[in-house]
Subunit: 423 residues, 2 copies
């Protein structure tokens, strides 16, 4: 498998907001990850301004570096959206108004009972000879064009629209291009230990040039180990990746909570659903974030019934029966209050499990005895209540997210002990 046969892609991110510091380009990383997963490596990402000449030049640059160019952004209806025009110029053709696309845009507004603003008709224009990509979630169709054997795509910059179009239309068109290059990627998600601890537990598997290659990334306490195996055939690559996964799992034990893009909330929800158990939560410093993470999961109403954001002391007492004396004696951020919140939530909601969090998210409110970042977590079920004390660092957002994730992880480990679970 020589390098000269490996097809490559380049990404073009279009938009002034990417150059002003206002917007972090998350689309590029998403696209790069997805292209790589089908065996199409990305060689460069270029972010450029909403200027016709600049976009046209960058298309030339990207097409010079790669076989496939995926551009995002600049397909909106306003005067500063110039990707369509730049594609036409690069392809050296006119923009033509496609009545069928106009009809679809019209229908999009009709469904919302809103009159279509005239300026949206520009979105029905695509370069002559190019194909339109349907946008099921918005008004801007995408574009698929070819020049000198290079394949060029323009997708909307709105992440949800871009992702849907990429998954349903772009990746299926690219798949046949890359057959013959066998690559298997497997991701293991871990929670409960730091990066260096995990690195020590798994030995030297991360050294360069190894096959399978193991990469380690950390994001908000979740550690992702990515296994990339390359081989002559897909079966062989798959087998190598699976062998590596088994070896990592045996080294890391219960630190591994899931695979691919699974979240802790998804894994916990899945176990609750399978075992027919239910859950309620009571939160103070996380202010709704724990319930939000749980209900991010479609179908979570099967096991999640009830959440309280008891932000004031009065709410803790009135809603969940935390004794005034307990708060007065130990403070709202204390082990006895965490315990009483979880017990009160389970009793009031009538669920099998309850989780509670009370802490100091900051930036204000910390003392020497109880610093910003101090968090108590409790989990309650018919076997009793288990509490733990944590000190999380960084800023308000990180403390809140780490607290909510840690609560989910504590529940996950508790479910492992009590419920019969098959993975």
């Amino acid at each position: 498998m020589g390098d000269e046969h490996v097809k490559k892609a380049a990404i073009l991110s279009i938009g002034n907001e990417l150059l002003s510091g206002r917007t972090v380009d998350t689309n590029a990383a998403y696209i790069a990850g997805r292209l790589r997963s089908i065996g199409l490596p990305v060689v460069s990402v270029h972010a450029v301004a909403d200027e016709e000449g600049t976009i046209e030049r960058s298309l030339g640059l990207a097409a010079g570096e790669a076989d496939v160019v995926v551009a995002t952004g600049g397909l909106g209806p306003t005067d500063d959206d110039l990707t369509r025009q730049a594609f036409a110029r690069f392809l050296d053709v006119e923009l033509v108004l496609r009545p069928d696309l106009l009809e679809k845009i019209q229908q999009f507004f009709d469904r919302r009972g809103v009159a279509m603003p005239t300026r949206n008709s520009i979105q029905a224009c695509i370069p002559r000879g190019a194909a339109a990509l349907e946008n099921e979630l918005g008004t801007a169709p995408g574009i698929r064009a070819e020049r000198d054997g290079k394949l060029l795509f323009a997708l909307p910059g709105v992440p949800a629209e871009m992702r849907h179009m990429l998954e349903t239309q772009v990746l299926p068109q690219l798949q046949p291009l890359v057959s013959g290059q066998a690559l298997a990627v497997r991701r293991l998600k871990c929670f409960g230990a730091g990066e260096s601890t995990i690195a020590e537990m798994i030995g030297d598997v991360m050294r360069r040039g190894r096959n399978p290659l193991v990469n380690c990334t950390v994001h908000l306490g979740v550690i992702t180990l990515e296994v990339v195996a390359t081989a002559d055939t897909q079966t062989e690559a798959q087998e190598m990746a699976e062998r590596e996964e088994r070896s990592l799992r045996s080294a890391l034990g219960s630190l591994v909570y899931g695979v691919e893009d699974q979240t802790l909330a998804e894994v916990v929800g899945d176990r609750l659903r399978r075992t027919g158990r239910t859950l309620a939560v009571a939160e103070s410093c996380t202010g709704g974030l724990l319930a939000k993470l749980i209900t991010d999961i479609p179908g979570s109403s099967e096991y999640f019934t009830y959440g309280w954001v008891t932000y004031s002391n009065e709410a803790k007492t009135r809603a969940l029966g935390v004794p005034v004396a307990t708060i007065a004696t130990y403070g709202a951020v204390s082990e006895p209050v965490a315990r009483a919140l979880a017990q009160g939530a389970r009793r009031t909601a009538g669920t099998d499990y309850a989780l509670s969090i009370t802490g100091i998210a900051g930036p204000g409110g910390g003392t020497e005895q109880k610093p910003v970042g101090l968090v108590y977590i409790a989990v309650d079920n018919h076997d009793g209540t288990e509490t733990s004390r944590h000190v999380f660092s960084f800023d308000r957002g990180s403390v809140r997210l780490r607290a909510a994730q840690t609560a989910l992880n504590i529940l996950r480990l508790r479910l492992d002990l009590t419920g019969p679970v098959s993975m």
Copy 2:
């Protein structure tokens, strides 16, 4: 002031992790924002792999587009860190070992009581004739070089090290370059209408080449209008931006909710705090997200006391007194249930205001009469209850976020009517 006098910058982000989808390039947005704040606009960002030839070519490309190139990444001690070598090749000089830099790296390890790994000595090498930038937070010195009148910087990819070096060494060196170019930037945040409606309301201010220039971006329903005024003096630029802001505000009225990076939750919280009012929320489909957005704001405990995530019908009835008959007759997703939730929340929590949300976030649970995305929102205070019906689109995440943001916006408009507010 002609365009030909405006100095420009380009950013080069170096690292395989940026092309694999593993890492989102947050450094580029940070650098772009800081350069722009001193009046040095960024014309492009290029992310490339850790390959010597590729980095060298990209340096040429970036230097061709801009007067200043800021590169990050690839200064580590391992074999895949090749930025130093690529800079030397681009400058057509050798890498030379600087004993003073080696001494500092050695000291860095000494302070930690750790032996310096041999491989770290590569970090003491910089291209002949280039200057070193001190790294107070890590081992890799930065590089400052010149070629053909273009200024080139190499900074570490570790965000904390990069930021510190940028602030303390790079920006002070660039400041004199850009004096004479005065730039004033002002952002208006809008909510409650689509991009094209807003574009029609403000006329042709977004046309290219205009000064002040107005850019429009949309993110999760929030529309940001950015006004960029350029002039010979800072005072003049500031006045132009302010005049433009007044004109946009008068065209858009109450669609403008804030400025700069303000969120709806921040603006609503600010008004509640100033007027001494309190708030409770009851959520169904948003599952804690509304409370989470409100409590994202430090100090929100001053006005936010209580939140319920009444995810099941039983929770709606038991916690907030929504009559079983109302749910049976109209369904959980209905105007009467939204109304009863808001009234129940205000009564139970004893707050001045209550917001409620009930809807179908999807992907399941929709019917012909009640499609996915249907959401009822209610706001209640002593003047009465106001309800509204909405249909949001895209996916579960978007429906939930749009619903929560819309609820905050409804409360904002209600607060404008009832509370004495000075901006």
